[in-house]
Amino acid sequence: MNKTTNRIELSGLQKKFGSETVLTDVNLTVGAGEIVGLIGPSGAGKSTTINVMLGIERADGGQALILGQKMPNRKLLAEIGYMAQADALYDLLTARENLYFFGRMKGLSKAKLNEEIPHLAQLVDLTASLDKQVKNYSGGMKRRLSLAIALLGQPELIILDEPTVGIDPALRKKIWQELANLKAQGCSILVTTHVMSEAELTDRVALLFEGKIIAFDQPKNLEASYQVASIEQVFLKAEGEL
C-alpha cells in the first residue's frame, strides 16, 4: 500500500497556538528501515511535531504525509506504533489486559492478540509479570510495557517520544538493541531524545530549534560539518550560533 520510500514526510510544517508560533518550518523525512532521531531543547516543538504526525494537532501550514497519506487521518493510526512520553497505562489492569485493550483499539483481532502478546512480552522481558497489575510495576517495567504496546500489530512505522527517559543504562541499551532489530526487519523509527549519546545510534539526526529543523544529516556528517567530536557538541554549537 505504500509506494513512497518515505514513511514520514513533513514539508514546511507550521503550527501556532494562539499568537505563539511553535513550529515555523519543519521539514523531515524518515525512509523505510531507517532510524531518525529528533533532538532539541525542551520547548523546541518536538512534542508538537509528533502530535501533528499523529493527527492530534492539525498543522496550520505545510503538510504531514505518513505512509503516503495526509494527516490527520484516523484510520492510518492503525499502521503506526506510538510510545508516549508519559506511561499512559491503566494501573488497575494487568499488563496482559493493557496489551489486549490497546491491541483491540488498534483493530487487531482477539486471536491475533492471543498469539502476539506472549511474543511481545518475551521481547520486552515481562513474561513473568504479564498478569500482574500495572500499579505494582516499577518505572522501568512500565516503560517496557509501553514499548510493547507500541509494537502491537507489527507496524511499519514506530514513533517513540523519549522512550528512555528515567530508565537505567542496562535497560536503555536493551531498548536500543530492540530498535536495531526492528530496523533490520524493515521497520522505520522516529525517536525523540534528550540523551545525546543515543543520537549517535541513529541513522540520521534532525536538530530542532525554535520550531525549525536547522540541521538534518547522519551523525558523522553533522559532527564533521560542525567540526566537533560528538552530537552533544553539535547541539551546543548549533544553539550558540543561533
Binding site: I56, R74, A84, A88
Partner: protein, 366 residues
C-alpha cells in the same frame, strides 16, 4: 465493537477499585440514613405559656390544645422573668381595664410561637361561642316557638389523597432530594474517573489509536452506565424504604426515571471533566452547577419565583426529573403521564453525549 471493549475495560477497572466501589454504594446509603434520622425526629411542637390574670375559662380551653402547658403567675414581672430565663415560651397578660390580651413570645422557635397564637385564638373563639350559646338558649326559652333541641356539633372528617395527617414539608422534598442525590453521586464518580483518564495520559494515548471519538464516549457511557444504573436504583429503592416514602405510582417507574436521570448525570459529569484540569477544579463545579439545581428544581414552587429564576429552572435537568418523580410518587402518575419530562431528559442526554463526542476534538483533530 470497540465500544464494547472500552465498556468492558471500564467495568473491570471499577470492580478492582474496591474503595471507590464501596464509596459509590455506602455514601448514598449513609446520606439517606442520616436524612431519615433527622426527619423522623419527634416533631410534635410544645409550648410552655405563663398566664397573668387570664380568665379560668380561657385557660381551660387553651389547655385542651395538644402541646400547651400553662402556668399562672400573679405578677407580670415574675412571668416576664421566667420568659427571659427560658423557662417559658410565651407570656399572656390580660389587661382587665383595656379588655385586651398582651402576648409576649420568646420567638426562638417560630413553631412554638405559632402554636401559642393558635391556642389563644381557638380558646377565645370557643369561649365566645359558649357564651353565645348560653345567650341564645336563654332567649329561646322566652320565645313562643318550641326551640330546636341542642344543635349538633359540626364534625370535620379529613381525607388525604397523599400521605396522612403527619405529612410535612419533607414529603414534598423527598422525590426531588432522591433525584438530586442520584445526580450528585453519579456526577462525582463519572467526573472523577474521566479526569483520571485525562491526567494520567491514557485518554491521549487511546486517541492515538484509530478508535472513533464516539466509540470512546459510548464505551464510557455503557461502562459507567452500569454503575449509574446500580447507584440510581439503589438510591431510589433504599430511599423509598428507609425514608418511608409512600409511593402512589409504581416503584418500577420511579427506578426507571432515576436511572434515566443517572445517565444524564453521567453524560454531564463526563462533559464537566473536560473543562476541569484537576480534581480540585472539578470540585469547584459542584457549587456552581450541581448544588444550585436543588433551588431551582421545584422544592420551592417555581411559579412563585421571579421570572429569571423560572427560566433557569427550566434549563436544569433536575427540574424535569423532580417533576416526574413527584408526579409518580405523590400522584400515582404512570411513565406515559410524564412523557414530557422523559422526553426532555432524553434530549438532555442526547445533547450532552453529542457535546462529549465533539469535546474530544480537543484531544484529537479527527
Amino acid at each position: 465493537m470497540r465500544t464494547l471493549v472500552i465498556a468492558k475495560r471500564v467495568i473491570s477497572q471499577i470492580l478492582r477499585d474496591k474503595r471507590t466501589l464501596a464509596l459509590v454504594f455506602i455514601a448514598p446509603l449513609l446520606i439517606l440514613w442520616l436524612l431519615n434520622t433527622m426527619f423522623s425526629a419527634n416533631n410534635d411542637v410544645t409550648a410552655r405559656i405563663g398566664t397573668v390574670a387570664v380568665d379560668q375559662k380561657i385557660a381551660k380551653q387553651m389547655k385542651k390544645v395538644t402541646g400547651i402547658t400553662l402556668k399562672a403567675y400573679d405578677k407580670k414581672a415574675t412571668a416576664k422573668k421566667a420568659l427571659a430565663d427560658d423557662k417559658l415560651d410565651g407570656v399572656i397578660v390580660y389587661d382587665q381595664a383595656a379588655k385586651k390580651y398582651e402576648v409576649t413570645y420568646a420567638n426562638l422557635d417560630v413553631s412554638k410561637t405559632a402554636l401559642t397564637k393558635t391556642a389563644l385564638k381557638s380558646a377565645l373563639t370557643a369561649t365566645t361561642i359558649t357564651n353565645l350559646k348560653n345567650v341564645v338558649q336563654k332567649q329561646s326559652q322566652l320565645l313562643p316557638i318550641a326551640p330546636q333541641k341542642q344543635a349538633k356539633t359540626v364534625k370535620i372528617v379529613n381525607h388525604y389523597n397523599y400521605g396522612d395527617a403527619d405529612s410535612n414539608f419533607f414529603n414534598k422534598m423527598a422525590p426531588i432530594l432522591m433525584g438530586f442525590f442520584t445526580f450528585f453521586f453519579v456526577f462525582l464518580i463519572s467526573g472523577m474517573a474521566l479526569l483520571k483518564e485525562r491526567t494520567s495520559g491514557t485518554l491521549a494515548r487511546l486517541l492515538a489509536t484509530p478508535v472513533k471519538r464516539s466509540e470512546i464516549v459510548y464505551g464510557y457511557m455503557l461502562g459507567y452506565g452500569l454503575l449509574a444504573l446500580l447507584q440510581a436504583s439503589l438510591i431510589a429503592i433504599v430511599g423509598i424504604y428507609l425514608l418511608n416514602i409512600e409511593v402512589v405510582g409504581s416503584l418500577l417507574s420511579v427506578v426507571a426515571i432515576s436511572v434515566l436521570f443517572g445517565f444524564v448525570a453521567l453524560a454531564f459529569g463526563i462533559l464537566m471533566s473536560t473543562f476541569a484540569a484537576s480534581e480540585f477544579q472539578l470540585m469547584q463545579f459542584i457549587p456552581i452547577v450541581v448544588v444550585p439545581q436543588i433551588f431551582f428544581s421545584g422544592i420551592i414552587p417555581l411559579d412563585s419565583m421571579v421570572n429569571w429564576a423560572q427560566v433557569i429552572g427550566k434549563l436544569l435537568p433536575l427540574t424535569y426529573a423532580g417533576d416526574a418523580l413527584t408526579a409518580i410518587i405523590m400522584q400515582g402518575a404512570s411513565l406515559v403521564d410524564v412523557w414530557y419530562d422523559i422526553m426532555i431528559l432524553i434530549i438532555f442526554l442526547v445533547v450532552l453525549v453529542l457535546l462529549n463526542v465533539v469535546g474530544l476534538k480537543r484531544y484529537r483533530k479527527v
